[in-house]
Every structure is written in C-alpha cells, then in structure tokens.
Amino acid sequence: MSATPEVLLSARGLTKRFGGLAAVNGVDLDLWCDRIHAVIGPNGAGKSTLTNLLSGDIEPTAGRVAIGGIDTTHKSPEAKSQLGLGRSYQKTNIFTSFTVWDNVRLAAQSRRRLASWNVAQWFTSADSQAATNESCERAIELAGLTPRARAIAATISHGEQRQLEIAMTLATEPQVLLLDEPLAGMGQAEAERMVELLLKLKKGHAMCLVEHDMDAVFALADQLTVMVNGQVIASGTPGDVRSDAAVQAAYLGEEHQ
C-alpha cells in the first residue's frame, strides 16, 4: 500500500427515499485504490440500493458522489462507466443469447468510445478489432472462462455466469469496481476461486464489495461498513467492526448464532 492511498470514489450524505421509506440514509463511503471495502448488512439494509446509487442506475434524493474527484451525482450510468466505474449485478445481468466471448467483446468494445453515427465504423468488422479482442481475451482469462469462451451464455453454469459478469466488468477497464454479491449462489470451489480472483484484482482497483458470505468478507476486506435500515452503524477495519457492540447486537450476533 502506498503512503498516500488515493480515494477513487467518494460518497457523502447519500440518501434515497422511496416515498416515506429511506432505503439509504445519509451514507458516507470512500473507496481507496488497492483496497477492498466491503459493505455488509442484513437483507433490506439498503446495500443494493447503495450500489445502484453509486453506479448511477438510480438517482439519489440527496447527497453527492464523486469519481476521481469529478462530481458524478447526476451523471448517467454510461457516463460513470466511461469515467472508470465498473459494476457487476447481484442478479446475473448478461446477454444470455450471446456467446461468452461476444458478451465480453461487447464490454471491451465500449472502451473504443465509437460514435454511433461514425459512418466509417459501420463498414468495419466487430470481430477484427485487435485491441478489443486482446482486452476481451485478457478479461476472459482473468475470470477463468477461457475454456468456455465459445459457449452460449445461457447454457453455462450459474457460477460461470457470475464469472462472466466479472469478466464483462473487467473488460471495461474500470478503476472502481462495484461488486454486488459476486459469490451469490456459488459452490464452495467456485467461491474460493472467486475470492482468489478478487484478491488478484485488489491491486490497481478501488473495490466495493457487497457480500453475504462472511468468510469471504473477512478474508478480503480492508475496510468494512455495516448497514442496517439504510444507515451506516459502523465503519472501519474488520477487526474494529467485529468488536463493535452495536454491530454484534444488530447483525453479526444474530447471523452467527
């Protein structure tokens, strides 16, 4: 870790109200380069809403989000993606009718920032773009999907679809990674491989990990934020959070009985 780690994403007072319900209420969050920041909390705590607020999938009622010092509070998901934010989804969100390769290739293609009205690109072949193909191949290999590259995404296993989700996110070459339950529904062996991959990705990325698997969280997290009812009840190193009385009462205690 460098002497002055860089904050790549910072959220202040982030709030989202759905009618009278504050799904996320005044959340502050910083994501540092080379660090994994895990967000945990019981179901309905607002973790997924927080992820959607950070990624721009939904707009906050109040508060600000900045990526690399640029205010992105009201920017669209595509603008945030182009500023270096990559996210994966809790519910697998892939192009099921495409092959694994085409899923990731499309993700990699986004970095060429081609204008749709650029007539010259209409006459080029998407398959023969060397830089896109290289980036695609790298992401697929990193996610461990190389042997499955030609399979239709709908036909691969659930765990492989989760890996694909990560590969697509990586192919957009993000600096900030928002991973919403990457281990959900994975078997033991698959989960271990994913934890290994996330550790590998730590270097060079600022990562926010929303996860239910406590073993994985404590194995990975440098920072830990605990949410309950839309609010942060504790934030700090995993050791500090583990010994926090409020956390034990509200969350870890009942989950770990």
Partner: protein
C-alpha cells in the same frame, strides 16, 4: 433447439446463403425469359423488391435493435412525396440527386421524430411511433396544398442520364426492374455488413439487454436514434422507388396499413438478419395476390396464414428453412 428458436438468426448457414443466391439469380433472369404477361410480372416483382427494401429497413429496428415501430411507413411515404414535389411540372428530376434528396428527407424526418420517440420503451414506443406517423398522415391527408386525400402525381419518371449517356431509361420496365434489384442487393449487403460492425453489435446488445449496455458505458439513446434515422432513410429509398414506379403518391403510403404490413413481412420471413425480411416481403405479397384472387375476404386467409407461421415457425419462413437443414444435418451425422 427450443432455446435457439427464441434467438434471432443472425449468421446464415451455408445452405441458406446458397439458396438465397440461387433465388437472386433466378430473379435477375426473369426479364430475359420470354413469357406471357411479362410486363405484369416484372411490375409485380419490382414492387415486391421495393417492399423488401422497406421491410429490411424496418428489420434494422425491429429485429436487430428490438424497437417495434408501428409508424415506419411515414418515412416511406415522405420520400415518395419528396420525389413528387421535387419533380418539375414539365421535366423529369435526375435520379442522381433526387434519390439521395428523398432519402435525406425521410432520414431527417426520422431524426426529428426519433429524437422524441427513442426515449420511450416497449409498448410506449409502439404507440408513440404510430402517433407520429398518424400526424404525418393527416398532415398530408388534410392539406390541399400537399395533395390532400387524393394524393399527387409524379409527373415524370426520374431521369438517369449520366454525362449525356442515356443508357438507363427508367420508363423501360426492365431497366427499372434491374435498378430496383441493384438497390435491393446494395441495401442488403450494406445492412449485413452493418450487422456485424461494432455499431451493429451494439444494437444487438441493446435488443438483448439495454440496461446492461448502459452499465457497460454505451449511450444507448444515441445508438437507437442513429438506427432510427438510418432505418428512416432506407425506408425512404424504398418509398422513392415506389413513387417512381407507380407515378403516383397518396397518404395511404404512410398509413397505418403500410406500417403494419411491413411488420408482418418481417415477422413472416424471420427477424434480425435482413434475408428474412426479403423472403417475408415476397411471401407476403405473393399470398396477398393469391388470396385476393380467391376471395374478397382475403384478410381472413392472410391472418390465418400469418398465425400459422408464427405458431409453427417462430423464426419465420427463413427459420423454417434453417430448421429443415439442421434436421437433415442431424440425420446425416
């Protein structure tokens, strides 16, 4: 098999390509074959080819991008009117500038209308495209200065003289047939190229999962608007040819029925690969002639026919052809 039947057919199997090529060559040979009622058949086939171009332009939205436009005839009709108004009272307009101009008029209209409609989704997109097309329809229907409900004549067929050489005479039905065929092949090859370009892949991504495309950094609005504009321009090419062939335009060209027919052609032939749109346009027009000769209640037969195709060939007639080939392949291996 069941999974693949839901996925549009994009890459055409070898056998289908050969079949299409043979069909295309047979079509090109028709004018050379001596036969009874030659002019009638040439005219009918020319009309089918024009509608095939129109159907392909819609397929770019419907099959490739997943945008079902119920107002696509507006751009078809506008280009036809453009030719009618660009043709001077006592001389023909040159093909070489009036065709691009008419296509541009259609594309511009699509750009303006697309600016509003492309931000809507699903059923709303269908309704809003229809609403705009109805506005265009009534603009022409109610305005005497725009021809009104009777429409307007195209006084002369376009002139295709190149630097003093008058070899292409569009008054000649055979020449017009080959011009239309050339444009059909040109538009088809262009759209096939487009389909596998980075732009085409992004459109396919939008059809499959627009939300994910945005998270991956694609400005999907711009992509959809570009596709909508391009599809409008290509519909304009077809509309121009229609007006040039018939020498007459009326509001029906941009009416609801015209838009609905195009949707049916694309569904009938099979979506998302442009070849299906061609097959669909020919099949639809052929059945239309057949049923109209049989009974005045032809719509009943047409409806049943389309229902049967949708039930038994969810990927359209072209998909049916592919399935037969796949089954034969499975038997052989």
């Amino acid at each position: 098999m069941s999974a693949s039947s839901k996925v549009p057919l994009e890459r055409l199997p070898h056998g289908v390509r050969i079949t299409l090529l043979v069909g295309g060559l047979a079509l090109a040979a028709v004018p050379v074959v001596p036969m009874e009622g030659r002019d009638f058949y040439l005219q009918m086939l020319t009309q089918m080819m024009i509608l095939a171009i129109f159907a392909m332009s819609l397929d770019l939205l419907q099959g490739v991008t997943g945008l079902v436009s119920l107002g696509h005839a507006a751009y078809f009709g506008l280009a036809g009117y453009a030719l009618a108004f660009l043709t001077p009272a006592n001389a023909p307009a040159s093909l070489w500038w009036s065709l691009p101009a008419a296509a541009l008029v259609a594309a511009l209209a699509a750009l303006v209308i697309g600016f509003f409609v492309v931000r809507t989704h699903g059923i709303y997109f269908i309704m809003v495209t229809m609403a705009f097309a109805q506005m265009v329809f009534f603009l022409f229907f109610d305005n005497k200065s725009l021809g009104g409900s009777d429409g307007s004549y195209v006084n002369f067929k376009p002139d295709a003289t190149i630097a003093g050489w008058g070899g292409i005479d569009l008054e000649n039905k055979t020449t017009f047939f080959y011009l239309t065929l050339a444009l059909l092949v040109g538009v088809y090859l262009f759209l096939r190229r487009l389909l596998f370009s980075p732009f085409g892949r992004a459109l396919a991504g939008i059809r499959a999962n627009e939300h994910r495309m945005r998270a991956l950094g694609y400005g999907t609005y711009g992509y959809k608007l570009t596709a909508f504009t391009l599809a409008g321009g290509l519909a304009g090419v077809a509309g121009y040819l229609w007006a040039a062939q018939t020498g007459y335009v009326n509001p029906e060209l941009m009416g609801f029925h015209m838009s609905a027919h195009a949707i049916m052609m694309v569904i009938l032939g099979g979506m998302g690969n442009f070849a299906g749109a061609i097959v669909g346009a020919f099949a639809f027009e052929y059945m239309l002639h057949l049923f109209k000769d049989m009974t005045k209640h032809w719509q009943l037969l047409m409806g049943s026919f389309i229902l049967l195709v949708v039930i038994f060939a969810p990927r359209g007639l072209l998909g049916l052809l592919v399935r037969k080939k796949e089954e034969a392949h499975e038997r052989n291996s």
